[in-house]
Structures are given as structure tokens and as C-alpha cells.
């Protein structure tokens, strides 16, 4: 699967294209399939998200996951500060990242 990601203009936070809008949560990400470049062009023009780009992803039982380690770390947060990740209360939240 293909995922579209970038960083939110105002906050810089990592964000994922859901098919209709942007979400901070990788679980909301949609497979952009063949339409990635078209969505990318529209969203770049909208200037809500910085430097959006398409990445390879994998569908899992827990939702979509980026294929590359860099984007997996982007999806959750720094592995060395679980308290700063999107799921600070879940000790297993980062199990799939590394």
C-alpha cells in the first residue's frame, strides 16, 4: 500500500492523509494507491502540510504501518521518550516501530 504523509504547517507535527483530510494518527491513514501523485499535487497547492510525500506502507491487523523505520518513528514519536509519543500511556505502543 501507499501512504501520504507530511508535517502540519502550523505545528510541524507528523500528519497522514486519511482519504478526505489529515490526521495525526497513522491508524487513520488511507491507502492512496494509484492516486497518490494527484492527491499530493492538490494538497501541496492547498499549503496546509509541509513537503508531503508518498511512502510504502503495510496493512496490518492494527492498521497501516510505514515500511521504513524512519517513517515508523515519525508515526509514533521518539523511541527514547515514550512519554512524548502519541500513546504515552501504552507501554507496548512502540513495539512495532523497531
Amino acid at each position: 500500500m501507499k501512504l501520504l504523509t507530511g508535517n502540519d504547517l502550523k505545528t510541524g507535527f507528523v500528519t497522514w492523509w486519511t482519504g478526505a483530510d489529515w490526521s495525526l494518527h497513522i491508524e487513520d491513514a488511507a491507502d492512496v494507491g494509484e492516486h497518490g501523485e494527484a492527491v499530493l499535487a492538490v494538497e501541496e497547492a492547498a499549503r496546509r502540510v509541509n513537503a508531503p510525500y508518498i511512502i510504502a506502507g503495510e496493512a496490518t491487523a492494527d492498521g497501516p504501518r510505514p515500511a521504513h523505520i524512519k517513517d515508523r518513528i515519525r508515526a509514533l514519536g521518539p523511541t527514547v521518550r515514550p512519554d512524548l509519543t502519541l500513546k504515552p500511556a501504552d507501554p507496548a505502543a512502540g513495539d512495532w516501530v523497531i
Binding site: N7, L9, K10, T11, G12, F13, V14, R47, N50, A51, A67, H68, I69, K70, I73, R74, G77, P78, T79, V80, R81, L84
Partner: protein
């Protein structure tokens, strides 16, 4: 320390106003990211993995307590309650919102700080010896010269768009605590025939092509220092490569021209530059230098230290250095607790260090390139009170220059350029060697980790260096031995095939075991390596 004059205030205020307007236009969608990116980078605002990152300049690593408290305030109000002290003697915040950036720059300007020239192809923050003004071995305080270079390089119209970034360090002692020869220009203030002058080492650097700067001029009269620096930059600006980012640093130019030919061109240019009269009149330098006058230290302060508390005594032995004046000491505050993140400090810790500087340290702090903090001027009689306060705040780890005093870049946990994580490796090594007796048995051992070839973690200059790389989508770590950023400068050599995260920790243990087995009396790790070479270590690592 240096206080802004009306021109400094006006320049910084104008930049804050300009950038505030640029941010407003960006948020309104009036300019694109491609248009905005160079503007934000000129103000130290990067976009990293998780958010915007702001890099704040700390000129030659010197701060007062008011500025330090402002750094804590920014961490608390705009970030996530911590800051990261860097190998450029700066501080970075990892979770900045674009809409907050103008307010942060205003807050910084209120305490005479900014983020200008902490990015981009310009002359970056001037770095220096963190013990400047206090070190027993310096011939003069290098900071007035560093400040002069700061003023000369700030908004320098000719050097705002160099082929590549440019880093300058200034020291004034034979012991190099600033990795001077691994800078684009390293200036050592030296003495000859009773006069002080500047030795210019040009063309050093780390990154993907590490080089040790050759000596280009052994003695430049200090009255000519700016003109000589200008000549060095002009030759680079004229001939440095702009067609290939990987060959754009001055080290490549000097390597390709040869040091002799580069020197010839600089000398020729210097004759012309000298005629322009850019070196300041003596009165202006004296005005700057007066602001670095030594604090009012008490020469009769008692020289004895009560070492009856054994934990305190251990800390004194490891983290306290000799001051030039009896009865005083230099306190090195380690930001490397076992299992912690090298260089990180919470806002409460930053505030505490500011309080200690104000109460005991003549209001001065320094940031070191090894990502620690220094109180340069404290009375020995106050050391115990300082240690107690640091200990209560988790800042009294007695590991300066030991294997757990690790330099580590942010790595793949934060940095968009990184290929591998640095911090978890540092944490695992520090934990593996957490026994202080074992660390002290190993002695001085500088371990440095970078998460990519750009070498922000100075891996080339580590007695033991680690370079994280991406190997088919997984993290892999190359091991280097024999580097040094000090006066015995050298570049590390890769041992062989890399390791995974746990494997590199095991490999380091085999290396240190080999060192203990082979070392001669009084040898540090790097001395033994230089004497016996790579082969015995390679055998120990790979079998």
C-alpha cells in the same frame, strides 16, 4: 560577558520583526514552503522528524543566569519542558510550533540572544574553549576575539551565501578543548617574542570527508586577525565548489588546491584586504575586551576542600578542574546520567544551573561541545553546596571524560537526516559500563556517536566512534577507533563490518577488555591504540 550595544539590539530587533512578518505570510498561505524554507533556516528554524526544531545560538558557549533562565522558560512555555545542548555549544528545542516562533525570538531578544546564522551557508556560531577565562593553561581569554569574529561575521554581506556552512573556533591554550582543528577555521592564540598572535588552521571538518586542518599561518598579529580571516573566506567564496554539495566545504578546496597554493592565494588576498581597513581600532577592541574582564574573585579564598563525604570527593576528583586562581575551581556539570539522553536538560534543571551560577558562580555558565555545562568561576569553599544541589537534581554524575560521558547527536529519534538512532546506543553503552569503578579503571575514554555520515556526533574524533548507517532498511553501526578532537588530533579508523545495536555494545566491551589487557603504565585507551595499532583490537572484536 558581552552586552549588546544599540547596534546589536537594533539588528536583532529588525530580524525578529522581519521573520514575524514572514511567518505570518507563510501561515496565511501567501508564500510556499520552497520560498519560506531558506527564510526560516536563516533564523535557526528547521523541520525535523516530529516537529519544527529551533536552534538557538550561544556565542562561544557563554551564558549568564538570566539567559539560562530564558532557555528554561522557552522549554517550559513553548516546548515540552526540556532542551538539548549540542556539539556546537548551542541549544535546540525539538517541538516548536511555527506560530510560536516569532514570540520565542522576541523572548530571546529580550535577553540578548537569537537564532540567527544557526543554519544556512554562512558563518555559524563561533565556538571556543568552555574554560576560557578560567583555565590555568590559557595565555589569554580567547572570548574577546571570538566576540570580535561574531560581530564581523554577523550579517556579513559577502559571506551570507557561501558555498557551504562555515565553522570557526578560537582557543588560547595548548590543550584543545574545542576540537579546533576540526573546524573550517581553527584559530589558536599563541605567544611569540612576547606578543600574542593568531595561528590559523584552515580546512578541517568532519562530515562525510573528515580532514584535520593544516596550519596555514603560524602567527598573524592580532591587529590583523579579521583581515586574515576575511582573506581566508574570500578565497573560499571565490573558488569553493557550488556545483556539488558534497565537495563544497573549504576542506575540499584546500585539499584540491594544496595547502601551499591556498596559503599563497590567501596571502595575496590579505595584502588587498588589509588595505580596506576592516580591523577594528584598538579602542573598539578594548571596549569589547573590557566586557570579558575577570569577575571579582577573592585571591585569599581558602584552597582546601573538605572531602569527608566520599560521594562528593568522587565528584570533585572527576568533574572539578583547576582554576587559574587558587581557592577557585571550574565545575563541569555532566548532562550524561546513566541511561539518560546526552545533552538533554529539563527546564527545572536549566533553572537550577542558572540559580547556582548566580549564587556561586559570578553569574556565568558555559555550554561545552561535549554537551555538558560549566560553572567556570566558583570558590572551592562552595563546591559542597553546589554538589548537593546538583545531586538532588540528578546533575552530579561524576563521569567527565569517562566512557559514559558520551557525545551523541539526536539521531533517528529526532533528525530528518539521520539513518540510525544514536541515543539508544549511548544509553545501552552507559548502562553496560555503569559501574563507576569500571569506568575509572578505563580512564579517559571519549566515545562519540553519530546517526549519519554528517557526523554531528563527532564520531571521527572519538577515541571510540560509532557511525549509524542504514543497511537495507535496518540500523547498522560501524565502529571506529583512534580518533581525537583534542590537541593530539586524529581521525578514527573503521574496524570492519558493522553491528546491530546490541552487537556494537558487545564489540565495545571487547575493545575495552583488550585495552585493559594491553595497556602500558599510564596509557589512555587512545595511547594504547596508537602504540599497538588496529590489528589486536580487530582480532578481539571479530575473532
Amino acid at each position: 560577558m558581552y552586552k549588546y550595544d544599540e547596534y546589536d539590539h537594533a539588528m536583532v530587533a529588525a530580524r525578529v520583526a522581519e521573520f514575524s512578518d514572514q511567518v505570518k505570510r507563510r501561515l496565511a498561505g501567501e508564500i510556499t514552503e520552497d520560498q519560506f524554507k531558506p527564510l526560516r533556516l536563516m533564523n535557526g528554524l528547521y523541520l525535523q522528524l516530529h516537529a519544527y526544531m529551533l536552534r538557538v545560538a550561544v556565542p562561544y558557549g557563554t551564558l549568564d543566569s538570566r539567559q539560562m533562565r530564558m532557555l528554561a522558560h522557552i522549554a517550559r512555555k513553548y516546548d515540552r519542558d526540556y532542551g538539548h545542548f549540542t556539539t556546537r555549544q548551542n541549544i535546540q528545542y525539538n517541538w516548536i510550533k511555527l506560530e510560536d516562533a516569532p514570540a520565542i525570538l522576541e523572548d530571546l531578544a529580550s535577553v540578548e540572544m537569537h537564532a540567527i546564522q544557526t543554519s544556512g551557508n554562512c558563518i555559524r556560531n563561533i565556538s571556543s574553549d568552555q574554560w576560557a577565562g578560567a583555565a590555568a593553561d590559557e595565555i589569554t581569554d580567547p572570548r574577546p576575539w571570538a566576540e570580535l569574529l561574531r560581530q564581523w561575521s554577523s550579517f556579513h554581506p559577502e559571506f551570507s551565501y557561501l558555498p557551504r556552512k562555515f565553522k570557526i573556533a578560537v582557543i588560547a591554550a595548548d590543550e584543545d578543548r574545542a576540537a579546533m582543528r576540526l573546524h573550517d577555521i581553527g584559530i589558536q592564540i599563541v605567544e611569540k617574542d612576547g606578543q600574542h598572535g593568531a595561528a590559523f588552521y584552515v580546512g578541517g571538518g568532519m562530515g562525510r570527508t573528515p580532514m584535520i586542518a593544516p596550519l596555514i599561518k603560524d602567527f598573524v598579529p592580532l591587529d590583523d586577525m579579521l583581515s586574515y580571516a576575511e582573506a581566508c573566506l574570500r578565497v573560499y567564496n571565490r573558488y569553493g565548489r557550488r556545483d556539488n554539495i558534497y565537495k563544497a566545504r573549504i576542506k575540499i578546496l584546500i585539499h584540491e588546491l594544496g595547502a601551499d597554493e591556498y596559503r599563497r592565494q590567501v596571502e595575496e588576498e590579505f595584502v588587498h584586504v588589509k588595505s580596506l581597513g576592516i580591523d577594528p581600532p584598538k579602542a573598539e577592541f578594548d571596549r569589547i575586551a573590557a566586557q570579558f574582564a575577570p569577575p571579582p574573585l577573592d585571591a585569599s579564598a581558602p584552597d582546601e576542600i573538605d572531602r569527608s563525604d566520599p560521594d562528593f570527593a568522587v565528584w570533585v576528583d572527576q568533574n572539578v578542574a583547576a582554576h587559574k586562581l587558587p581557592g577557585h575551581a571550574i565545575v563541569n556539570i555532566s548532562l550524561k546520567p546513566v541511561g539518560g539522553i546526552p545533552g538533554d536538560a529539563s527546564s527545572a534543571q536549566i533553572d537550577l544551573m542558572a540559580d547556582l551560577a548566580e549564587k556561586y558562580g559570578h553569574d556565568e555558565l558555559r555550554v561545552t561541545h561535549a554537551q555538558n555545562i560549566v560553572l567556570p568561576h566558583v570558590r572551592k569553599a562552595d563546591l559542597y553546596a553546589i554538589w548537593q544541589a546538583l545531586d538532588a537534581a540528578g546533575l552530579a554524575t561524576p563521569n567527565l571524560d569517562l566512557i559514559s560521558d558520551i557525545i551523541a547527536c539526536p539521531g533517528l529519534d529526532y533528525c530528518s537526516l539521520a539513518n540510525a538512532r544514536s541515543i539508544p546506543v549511548a544509553q545501552k553503552i552507559a548502562t553496560r559500563f555503569s559501574d563507576l569503578g569500571r569506568q575509572k579503571e578505563l580512564g579517559e575514554l571519549k566515545l562519540k556517536i553519530s546517526g549519519c555520515i554528517n557526523a554531528c556526533g563527532h564520531h571521527h574524533a572519538g577515541h571510540i566512534g560509532i557511525l549509524g548507517v542504514d543497511r537495507k532498511g535496518t540500523e547498522n553501526y560501524q565502529l571506529l577507533l583512534g580518533g581525537s578532537g583534542a590537541e593530539d588530533v586524529s581521525l578514527g579508523t573503521i574496524t570492519g563490518p558493522g553491528f546491530d545495536e546490541d552487537g556494537v555494545v558487545d564489540a565495545i566491551e571487547r575493545v575495552t577488555d583488550k585495552y585493559l589487557a594491553e595497556r602500558a603504565e599510564g596509557e589512555r585507551f587512545v595511547d594504547t591504540y596508537r602504540r599497538i595499532g588496529m590489528a589486536p583490537f580487530k582480532e578481539a572484536i571479530y575473532g
